[in-house]
Amino acid sequence: MSKIADHLGIHQHALNLRSQRNEVLASNIANASTPNFKARDVNFVQELQKHANHGPMRTTSSQHMTDLPSMSGPVQYRMPTAESLDGNTVELHVEQMQFAENVMKYEASLNFLNRKITGLMSAIKGE
């Protein structure tokens, strides 16, 4: 099983992160007119590097804190170019562009995975 996982490589983690980022961006767009809502985003490069090198951090004790907002966490606050008067930092044009970009890259990752699986299948079938 790990051989297959190795074959799929970084793309499985990339797809996971892209889908997580899609959810965050969708939350931002949903809260575009909620006062005092602060827009957030996933630091994609940083998160993917964690997977590339030594895997995600694990909690080995029930007393480990997992729900703390931190500077280096996966989800960070976005710095707005112009904050609106009601304290909302969602800038719809930014979110829309980021979302479109993320969807495109998600599809790219999906295509990579698809091709790899197709390659595996043809190797298994020996066609």
Partner: protein, 120 residues
């Protein structure tokens, strides 16, 4: 959608008149609040909900219309405290946001369908 509903109610009542200023219609506005998912600090996932509705603190405008059947002894009626320009702006903003959200849902749904068919 709630926001569009309130705009519709407000605009529908924009031209109604009242004898007493206390009875006059005042525009209704929804108050949005963020609903955070579990472990929101880590995942950053949040939805939105209407927390409550408020009536704006605005005095109705007195108009001198002695021929109106609702006019008081001095010939004044009180028009509903609804700013139609403001409501139109509100409507545009609300419908754009609605479209945006629909677009996001449609895109994510298409992505999910493609992911389900992965490897076929």
């Amino acid at each position: 959608m709630m926001r569009l509903n309130t705009v519709a109610s407000n605009l529908a009542n924009a031209r109604s008149t009242y004898t007493n200023p206390e009875d006059a219609y005042r525009s209704i506005k929804p108050v949005f609040a963020t609903v955070y998912a579990d472990r929101a600090a880590q995942t950053g996932i949040a939805s939105v909900n209407v927390e409550s509705f408020v009536r704006v603190e605005r005095e109705p405008v007195a108009e001198y219309r002695p021929d109106d059947p609702k006019a008081n002894d001095q010939g004044y009626v009180y028009a509903a405290a609804v700013d139609t320009d403001e409501e139109m702006v509100e409507m545009l903003d609300a419908s754009r946001n609605y479209q945006n959200n629909i677009e996001v849902v449609t895109t994510l749904k298409a992505l999910m369908m493609r992911t389900i068919n992965l490897g076929r």
